[in-house]
């Protein structure tokens, strides 16, 4: 028998949002539920079906989840209004929270944002106090000059013996000198904000999130760099007071799209470990919380304790 139960749902003001709620098959629910949303243009199952796998793993540990398509993505209908897409994403995610609150009685939430989903997750965390945890996977990154030079150096060093790096370099040059190639590879649907605007938004939003004591995990992969020394992806923000409150992990052995099963296993272990700590840190000592921890034996699948010290492992 499986550890989870799944319920397809249609919700939102006009019932055009589509999602799947995953709950533990039996026993009480953790007092915090998890929201999973689109990564880029992928539909709600996520890259490599990771949202499905993660939701079921979380449900096995007592945490309910909803994986959903934002308006205009996957199976959800287009937005009926004319809000900015970030505002619309917040409204959609709030509709999901309202639904979970009504259906399961859970009133606090973790948002797991992969890539572009991190931006939507941060907007929600700023806008809604029900968010107590935010995971940003390869989201905002501000690598400084040293980190960028080291990245280029390591790639140049690898090139003579690594044909794949030559291919990557050729594609990079193509994008650099061909507007058409650059447009085809552009990750943005719309013109991205200038870097200084993105940095200002990040500072303001993260400061607000830190003041509210939202648990944050900034999680980066081997797509971004080969190594990480001092929270390199945060660049100028690495030493700011507000980022000191956040967890930071860099794991060079996994990639942005979680292409290998090993990447997925590591990703799920890190996320479940963090989510359980957020649940426990939410300050709820009621039966549901205790039961959720007991069901998993207070341990992750790897045998590591569910409650661990915050750390910055650098690989």
């Amino acid at each position: 028998m499986s550890d989870y139960k799944e319920t397809p749902v249609q919700f939102g003001p006009d019932g055009s949002l589509i999602g799947i709620i995953t709950t533990p098959a039996e026993g009480p629910l953790a007092p915090v539920a998890c929201l999973m949303l689109n990564m880029g243009a992928n539909h709600r199952i996520g890259p490599r079906r990771i949202n499905v796998k993660l939701a079921r793993e979380m449900a096995g540990r007592g945490i309910s989840c909803i994986r959903m398509d934002l308006a205009g993505l996957g199976d959800s209908g287009p937005a009926s209004g004319s809000e900015h897409f970030l505002t619309q994403a917040v409204l959609d995610l709030q509709a999901a929270m309202n639904l979970i609150q009504t259906m399961l009685g859970v009133r606090r939430f973790i948002v797991i944002g992969l890539c572009s989903g991190a931006t939507n997750g941060l907007s929600l965390a700023v806008a809604d106090p029900r968010v107590v945890g935010l995971l940003m996977f390869d989201g905002y990154a501000f690598p400084g000059r040293r980190a960028q030079l080291e990245r280029q150096f390591r790639r140049a060093l690898a090139a003579p013996t690594n044909p794949a790096v030559i291919g990557k370099t050729a594609r990079w040059l193509q994008r650099k000198f061909s507007a058409k190639a650059a447009a085809a590879a552009a990750p943005h649907i719309f013109e991205p904000d200038p870097p200084e605007v993105t940095a200002a938004v990040f500072r303001r939003s993260m400061t607000q999130v830190a003041e509210r004591n939202v648990a944050v995990l900034l999680f980066y992969t081997g797509t971004m760099h080969v190594t990480d020394r001092k929270r390199d992806q945060l660049g100028p923000f690495a030493k700011e007071a507000f980022t000191q409150r956040f967890e930071y992990r860099f794991i060079g052995e996994i990639d942005h799209s979680l292409t290998s099963m090993e990447s997925q296993r590591i990703f799920m272990e890190v996320v479940c470990d963090w989510a359980l700590r957020v649940v426990q840190g939410a300050g709820v000592t009621s039966t549901p919380h205790a039961a959720a921890a007991t069901r998993s034996g207070g341990q992750l699948a790897s045998g590591r304790p569910a409650v661990a010290l915050q750390r910055d492992p650098v690989l």
Partner: protein, 268 residues
Amino acid sequence: MTPMLFGPASRQLFGLFHAPEREGKLAVLICMPLGQEAVRGHRLFRVLADRLARAGVAVLRFDYHGSGDSPGEDTDGDLEGWRRDVCTAHEELRRRTGARRIIWLGARLGATLAVMAAKSGRCDPARLILWDPIVDGARYLETLRAGHVDALERSFCVPDPAWRRQLARDPDAFTQEIFGFGVSPLMRDQLRALAPATLQLTALHETVVLADAEDHAAQQWAAQETARHMPVRTSAFAHPLIWTSDPHPNNAMVPTEALQRLLAAIHE
């Protein structure tokens, strides 16, 4: 559009039913590709289903067991089980649409499963539309595992050169995790055993094969079935969709030519 779980309790499937918005006589069962190709094709088939529903065609899209939102692990999937899933979905669509003629539209491995399901005699599609069908499983597996290594190399900042050496040296390398979707040894063996000679149509329904003129395996298979006096037509169909690429707003997620060609094939 109605999201739902259907099928026997022991093997439920996730599906989306697009109710027809006006009177009509047709229903379409979409047999999706698998793995990364299903992720890539998701938006196209959703838009296609919307268009069909507006034109009065009922549509059912569904995820095979162990894929998409359906219950089951990646590695629970195999061709035989998925063939049965096609019939389960057909029965669900029949239950919802009554006397409408049901057309199956299968893409990639979904097209292959449609042929297998139709041959089983357990369900009665009026017509099969097969888009880029996989008829040579061994070659398909080779393409997929090479694509997997390419995806790894593209994704990592500095890829591991050992991946490509492993790909060349070991024929089983990367066959258990193609594009990040788990594949069981049983499924791998079934894929390798899939050959044009093992994939046969029946004379009970008409079949249309939409495949690139350069897809020699599909073209030859269709010719072979024509030689067996099966009612099959082949239509050359080139499109820009790269089945294993990531969904991306800038790489034609819903190519117009594909959408129009599929709509035309269904309505003809």
